[in-house]
């Protein structure tokens, strides 16, 4: 038993956890024909159910999972897994029909039906089921109420509400001005931009995967991997001092995490050139500034000539540059994560003089 728990604790490490989530997405997309089977879908849910059932016998696991505000997130994990699988499955089924020349199932169901009774009854039943679930949930689980607010007593860990824990997790890798302001702003802007930069006329109004491979894969990466898995990580696996704790691990306040992160400027000046830091910050940070400018300004142009040539031609310059910018901003998180894990990199640009750290 202890051995199995040890394996789960090790696998839940942020690095492995994140890489596994990426791996799972790639497998789901690549092997979608196999993933689309009911055995895989319901089997996955059943395994997850067994895991949670097994977990509740462990006091540490039970403590964190049954915290009233965390219960919805347990539900969210199941719902999300189900709906990601389900939408991929419906896409695969439609793709088979399209390949056979039958068109998507939605096409075959284009004829109109009466809203009364066909739709209003579905709505009524959903509404009743939803009310029943909500009422039973409310009877079984009491809303939490802790000690009265006390500004002098900071709890450890202090966590934001669960839907912002992905952002709080980003604070490990970025300063607040990026993780808390600029990147969330770009998420909103990016979402609003989606319909205006996606020029693919196919896949409008029906499930499909093959006709929208890139769009769906990128969206799933943002939605299921970056957003959802980081919320799960932030909720269940981050304890006091935002240290990592495995699902079966005791939240020890005194757990020490080695903090040996190094700025890019140290790599350049101290370790590579073996000199001391230049006194002017603009010189000190020049390598990092050049790197960031390259990433934001030059890389889209280079990609337009090379790897993304196809998209540049399809989208036209304005759409392409907006897309490339948003895409690179999204990728900045996994890139910074990898840089932290592999090189212990803290900041690429560090100008504490004006609170400007990247």
């Amino acid at each position: 038993m202890g051995f199995i728990k040890g394996i789960f604790n090790a696998v839940a490490d942020p690095r492995l956890f994140f890489l596994l989530a990426v791996g799972a997405l790639l497998v789901a997309v690549w092997k979608r024909e196999a993933v689309a089977s009911n055995t895989v879908g319901y089997g996955m849910l059943a395994l997850l159910g067994v895991f949670f059932a097994f977990g509740t016998f462990d006091p540490n696991f039970r403590l964190i999972v049954t915290k009233p505000d965390n219960v919805p997130i347990v539900g969210l994990i199941f719902l999300l897994l189900f709906f990601v699988w389900y939408s991929i499955r419906e896409g695969v089924l439609n793709d088979r029909r399209i390949a056979a020349g039958n068109g998507p199932i939605e096409k075959a169901e284009s004829d109109r039906v009466w809203v009364w009774p066909d739709l209003v009854y579905t709505e009524l039943i959903s509404l009743i089921l939803c009310s029943v679930v909500l009422i039973v949930w409310s009877i079984l689980l009491k809303a939490p109420l802790e000690q009265p607010a006390n500004p002098a007593n900071t709890p450890n860990p202090s966590k934001a509400p669960w839907y912002f824990l992905g952002l709080q997790e980003m604070l490990v890798y970025f300063d607040p001005w990026l993780a808390g302001v600029v990147l969330p702003g770009l998420i909103i802007v990016g979402l609003i931009c989606i319909p205006y930069i996606d020029k693919n006329p196919k896949g409008n109004g029906y499930y499909t995967f093959t006709e929208r491979k890139a769009e769906i894969t990128i969206f799933l990466f943002g939605f299921a991997v970056l957003w959802a898995s980081l919320i799960v990580l932030g909720t269940f696996l981050r304890g006091p001092n935002w240290n990592f704790f495995g699902p079966f691990e005791f939240w020890d306040i005194h757990k020490l995490a080695a903090l040996t992160n190094v700025n890019l400027s140290e790599y350049v000046w101290v370790r590579a050139l073996r000199t001391s830091y230049p006194s002017m910050w603009i010189v000190r940070e020049l390598p990092g500034i050049i790197l960031v400018l390259f990433y934001v300004l030059a890389l889209p142009v280079i990609l337009a000539k090379g790897l993304f040539k196809r998209y540049f031609e399809k989208l036209g310059a304005p759409r392409y540059y907006v897309t490339a910018f948003l895409f690179l901003m999204m990728m900045s998180l996994p890139i910074k994560m990898l840089a932290r894990w592999i090189f212990n990199l803290k900041y690429i640009v560090a100008i504490p003089e004006i609170f400007f750290n990247i």
Binding site: R112, V115, W137, A143, P176, W177, V181, G205, Y206
Partner: protein, 271 residues
């Protein structure tokens, strides 16, 4: 010619009562059509009822299926309505001041027998965040944001943000440790807003001679909290936003959203 006798089918008391009821003056003054079991009356029922009139009269077969919509938009709307109702009831008991906020919640907990309004409100709020997210995911996976529905997708994104803000502002109101520290962690981010937060990059550049224009007592975080920490000002601000400002905003956008679903040709489907 022999008289032929027509025999009416036997009607039980329930049917008789129903027939009588639907012919009374009161009933016919409310419902201006007969029972919706003929095509004509199926049209009339949708057109003569303001609530049902959110719907079209007829709709694509694929669009009524749970398989397609997961009913997630509808459930988001239903949860919003139920949150409005339970929230209204909670407002009868809750006073947003440092003196009463916490004790009013304790009162709801301790003194109301079988009370579940607070639970319904809290779990309903969690559920709405989840259903809105899944709704967005469905709309993406069916490609329903593509022309002509681009604008409605954008309206949706704003409603998603408002849903999160509603949930966030509500989180503070119980005024317990969970509440103020979650809001402290969340609102500390505003400190780092570029140019507008006193610890944000560029804020130092905004100064008149020696006088900084952006400091702890006038920056973005101060505007959010009505103070330099999560205190009385923040409680009042969050209460007003939570109970009036944000619900009004999202209700207006929902009207736009539903209107546009219909104007854009109803639930999406292949051309």
């Amino acid at each position: 010619m022999a008289d032929t006798k027509t025999v009416a089918p036997k009607e039980g008391p329930a049917t008789q009562f129903w027939n009588w009821l639907t012919e009374t003056q009161v009933w016919t003054s409310v419902f201006r059509h007969e029972r919706p079991n003929t095509d004509r009356n199926r049209v009339l029922v949708m057109l003569s009822n303001i609530f049902l009139h959110l719907h079209p009269v007829r709709i694509r077969k694929s669009g009524v299926k749970l398989r397609y919509t997961w009913c997630m938009g509808g459930l988001s709307f239903f949860l919003f309505l139920s949150l409005t109702l339970t929230g209204l009831l909670l407002m009868f008991y809750y006073r947003p001041t440092l003196e009463y906020a916490y004790t009013d919640i304790v009162g709801l907990r301790e003194h109301v027998p079988l009370g579940i309004m607070r639970e319904m409100h809290r779990w309903g709020a969690h559920a709405m965040v989840i259903t809105v997210w899944l709704h967005m995911f469905r709309v993406f996976m069916t490609g329903s944001y593509k022309p002509p529905r681009e604008f409605n997708w954008s309206v949706g994104v704003i409603m998603l943000v408002l849903t999160l803000l509603l949930s966030f502002t509500g989180y503070l109101l119980p005024w317990d440790q969970l509440a103020i520290w979650a809001i402290t962690v969340g609102s500390n981010m505003a400190r780092a807003t570029p140019f507008l937060g006193h610890e944000g990059p560029g804020a130092q550049l905004l100064r008149l001679g020696d006088v900084p224009l952006i400091h702890a007592a006038d920056d973005a975080r101060f505007a959010l909290l009505g103070g330099t920490f999560v205190g009385e000002g923040a409680l009042l601000r969050f209460y007003v936003l939570h109970c009036v400002g944000l619900p009004l905003g999202i209700a207006v956008l929902m009207a736009v959203h539903f209107w546009r679903v219909r104007k854009d040709g109803g639930i999406s489907g292949p051309m």
